[in-house]
Amino acid sequence: MEDFLSVNQMYIVLLIVLLIWGGIILYLVRLEKRIKEIENSMKKG
């Protein structure tokens, strides 16, 4: 197990960074959706 971890260090870092980045993208996309909804409701009302 430790062998595997020590050899593939870079890829583990990559995985973690991609996960964090994925989280950020999800947050931004949801934020954009909510803003769009509010903008549309303001236009209609």
Binding site: M10, I25, L31
Partner: protein, 235 residues
């Protein structure tokens, strides 16, 4: 804006994967190997993240200054919203640049902080952003707040060229390109990076800036909504 959004996601994802996964070897052959830069080794990967983020914070500051100027000339509140939004993002990116820089400094030079001219400059930029927001929170009148914070950002902006260009050249420091650096102006300006590294770096520069543009758009739209709400409540 859709183009900006999707391309920024794609580009930054590419940079993350390429920047971290492509191995560094002594004799790079082909597209999927990076050269070993003397003194850096694996740590050279940071260049894909730390430098574009630092670059973006300066861009955000200049944009904030520009919109501040537009406000002062037209008294249109929209410009103030754009100015604050950009300043907020700039502050975030500045913080990230400082932290990534400190981590890199620890691994490369032994200490988290050394008061090297470029380190000092990014710290000063952080202080300028902080001062900008402190000033805004002390002014309740929205016109005064918009006007005076715009002027401050422009006055502070006058000193930024000194930090970026003059100080690092004049004083000895740790960053490449400081006075007394044997290697010249650093890996970017001296093109020490191989062409595939340069490619990833330029993609990173573009990607992070596009990300900033998208985030700015979101913040401005949210800011405008908030402003409408406030206007409706008080009228």
């Amino acid at each position: 804006m859709k183009v900006v959004k999707y391309s920024s996601i794609v580009l930054v994802t590419f940079v993350i994967i390429a920047g971290i996964a492509i191995p560094t070897v002594r004799e790079p052959q082909g597209l999927f190997e990076f050269p070993m830069i003397p003194g850096l080794g694996q740590k050279s990967r940071n260049i894909f993240f730390h430098v574009p983020v630092a670059w973006t914070t300066v861009v955000a500051f200049l944009v904030s200054m520009f919109y501040g100027y537009r406000y002062v000339r037209t008294k249109n509140m929209d410009y103030d919203i754009k100015s604050v939004s950009s300043a907020g993002l700039g502050f975030l990116f500045c913080f990230l640049a400082t932290v990534t820089g400190a981590v890199w400094a620890k691994f490369n030079w032994g200490d988290y902080w050394n008061w090297d001219p470029r380190e000092t400059s990014i710290f000063i930029l952080l202080l300028i952003y902080g001062a900008y927001f402190a000033l805004r929170s002390a002014l309740e009148n929205e016109e005064a707040r918009a006007r005076l914070s715009a002027v401050y950002s422009m006055v502070a902006g006058l000193t930024v060229p000194f930090f970026i260009f003059v100080m690092p050249r004049m004083m000895a420091g740790l960053h490449p390109g400081a006075a007394g650096d044997v290697e010249g102006k650093g890996p970017v300006l001296e093109l020490k990076m191989s062409s595939n590294m340069l490619f990833v770096f330029l993609v990173a520069l573009l990607g992070f800036n596009l990300l900033y543009v998208w985030m700015l758009d979101l913040r401005v739209r949210a800011g405008k909504i908030e402003y409408q709400r406030i206007k409706q409540q008080t009228s």
